[in-house]
């Protein structure tokens, strides 16, 4: 699935040429919010992974089965 493409299409309103008056503000808001989610996500992931060794992280977090 081309999620990013679909995600962007949804947020950027491609193909929706019948937007009524006033909807451009909402569209602009959705666009900036979608972009900001991905931007904030990338930043958060970078911070979370900073200096981490993923294999070691998973080993250290090894859990036993619960309920």
């Amino acid at each position: 699935m081309r999620f990013l493409q679909r995600f962007n299409e949804q947020l950027h309103g491609q193909g929706s040429g019948d937007d009524g008056p006033g909807s451009s503000d909402l569209l602009q808001q959705a666009r900036s919010q979608g972009d900001s989610l991905l931007a904030a996500g990338d930043q958060a992931i970078q911070r979370a992974l900073a200096g981490s060794n993923s294999e070691a992280f998973l080993r250290a977090g090894r859990q036993q089965g619960g309920q």
């Binding site: 919010q33 979370a48 619960g66 309920q67």
Partner: protein, 520 residues
């Protein structure tokens, strides 16, 4: 309007590192519980080494060395989410205190996650309890289709822990559900958990164990609220599940968990036809809306229906609409963006997962989520030369190279770490960072006062009584008071408080034999 009670248990994953090594889990957990006993106002749990806190919640060590926090009995989904979040903050405070005072050399963290990606094949739970007054045997037929289809908003998102590739799933826990109905909770878990342990008098308790820890308030709220309403409709004799019986619930659960587009038609029976998970949810929702003001429904049913409809509308509108509101949709957006940044074409993961699955089967390797031996598989010494030869031809035809799969496999651990860190408690958690940045749309109006809920019980039912008594007696160390869900007692004082009525509002004390046998 009818009163309904519910509660939520969260089993946490706790880990600690000492330098570059894993710290002893038992040491961390022992310190944590010891700190809870000494710093929180509490009474000793009568049946474990844990405790009941002044907010009437229970903190204890469950099987698999998982610290578990159970909310008090809540009378609505706002409180259920509020006390889940209060439990998170209590845990976080304990961990901060432990790191600050007890074990500064150990970096400890606590995660809202339900599967272990390190290869142990372990899972642990986030269970819900719903009080009801019907025959438990009648519930599965009404609930199973609901529990399977609610994955579309209640799934935590993540990766199939048994795949040797990188297979995104709406619900990592779903891979661990092996039965439609089961009374086991630590193996052969069922979609419907048949154990009936009421922990009170006069009612039964539905215990749902196929759920997962969530971060989104909206996802939690709809999960708890909608399940309550379905139970209420079943109890009222409306047979909400009768018209949407799944032909194979377990197969349907797997299909829903793998269906990122939410369009997979599921095989139904009586009569045979197909419905998507959203259509099944809309069936339950329509019935709940039609009866939302009925006498058997709770007062808050209309608002739950409104949020339930909002959730389904968002999900149906596509990933752009729901990516800020539901855990699995947030993760899907983040993972696919991260994949692009790391040079992986997300849309091709399905193809590569199928390639790995095919080779794994041909090599007779178990589906245990371990590392796939790609270099051996495609080397001149491959044990599956004909398979690899056919795959080579397929890759050439598609213009692909094995190197892309190498890159994907090399990044598996990184994606697993991201998924685990998504639900980390505290400011280092990815969800917390997104929430702090204000880019999410998951909050539900009315879920507030979390700080207050850390110290105070809900204002209804026996939880209110339990919390008040815990607060009052916590200082009486000589009294050796013990607490459990339906009783508080001291053999030393020869007194017991009966909490067996879940809707009680006033204390009801009686004498018990004075003795040295202090526990149950």
């Amino acid at each position: 309007m009818a009163d309904r009670l519910l509660g939520v248990e969260t089993e946490y994953a706790i880990s600690g590192t000492l330098g570059r090594e894993a710290a002893d889990h038992r040491v961390i957990v022992r310190h944590l519980l010891d700190l809870a006993h000494t710093t929180l106002r509490n009474l000793q749990d009568a049946s474990s080494s844990g405790l009941f806190m002044e907010n009437a919640a229970r903190l204890y060590l469950d099987c698999g060395m998982h610290v578990e926090c159970s909310t008090p009995e809540c009378a609505n989904p706002w409180d259920a989410v509020r006390y889940v979040e209060a439990g998170h903050r209590i845990m976080l405070n304990l961990i901060d205190k432990m790191t600050g005072e007890r074990t500064p050399e150990i970096q400890t963290a606590c995660y809202r996650v339900n599967v272990d990606y390190s290869g142990t094949g372990a899972t642990w739970g986030c269970h819900e309890s719903y009080q009801h007054g019907m025959q438990p045997a009648a519930l599965p037929a009404e609930l199973i289709s609901f529990l399977v289809s609610r994955t579309i908003f209640a799934g935590a998102g993540g990766f199939d822990p048994f795949s040797m590739g990188l297979k995104f799933t709406l619900s990592p826990r779903a891979a661990h559900i092996e039965r439609t109905i089961s009374s086991d909770s630590t193996s052969e878990r069922g979609i419907f958990h048949a154990k009936n342990e009421p922990l009170c008098a006069g009612y039964n308790r539905l215990h749902v164990l196929c759920g997962e820890s969530l971060c989104s308030q909206l996802a939690m709220f709809v999960k708890f609220g909608a399940t309550c309403l379905v139970v209420a409709m079943a109890e009222a004799g409306l047979a909400p599940g009768r018209a949407v019986q799944l032909d194979s619930p377990l197969a349907a659960l797997r299909a829903v968990a793998a269906d990122l587009n939410l369009k997979m038609p599921l095989k139904m029976k009586d009569p045979p036809r197909r419905k998507t998970a959203i259509e099944i949810q809309r069936h339950y929702l329509a019935m709940a809306e039609a009866h939302s003001r009925a006498s058997f429904m709770p007062l808050w049913a209309p608002e739950v229906c409104r949020q339930w409809r909002r959730a389904l509308d968002l999900l149906e509108a596509g990933p752009g609409a729901a990516a800020k509101s539901f855990d699995w949709q947030m993760k899907l957006a983040l993972f696919s963006s991260h994949a692009a940044r790391r040079g992986i074409e997300w849309s091709r993961l399905g193809f590569w997962n199928a390639v790995i699955d095919h080779m794994r089967k041909e090599m007779a390797l178990p589906a245990d989520g371990g590392a796939f031996p790609l270099e051996l598989a495609i080397s001149p010494q491959t044990p599956i030369p004909f398979v690899v030869s056919r795959l080579d031809a397929l890759l050439r035809k598609k213009g692909l190279e094995w190197d892309e799969l190498r890159r994907i496999l090399a990044l598996r651990a990184e994606f697993f770490e991201i998924d685990t860190r998504f639900g980390e408690l505290g400011p280092r958690g990815i969800f917390s960072m997104l929430d702090q940045a204000g880019v999410l749309d998951h909050r539900v109006s009315g879920i507030d006062n979390i700080e207050h809920a850390m110290r105070h019980p809900p204002n209804r039912g026996r939880a209110k009584v339990r919390g008040a008594v815990v607060k009052r007696l916590a200082g009486d160390l000589e009294g050796r008071w013990y607490c459990c869900w339906d009783r508080i007692f001291s053999r030393r004082h020869g007194r017991a408080l009966d909490l067996s009525d879940p809707f009680m509002e006033v204390e009801s004390w009686h004498d018990v034999p004075v003795g040295e046998n202090e526990g149950l």
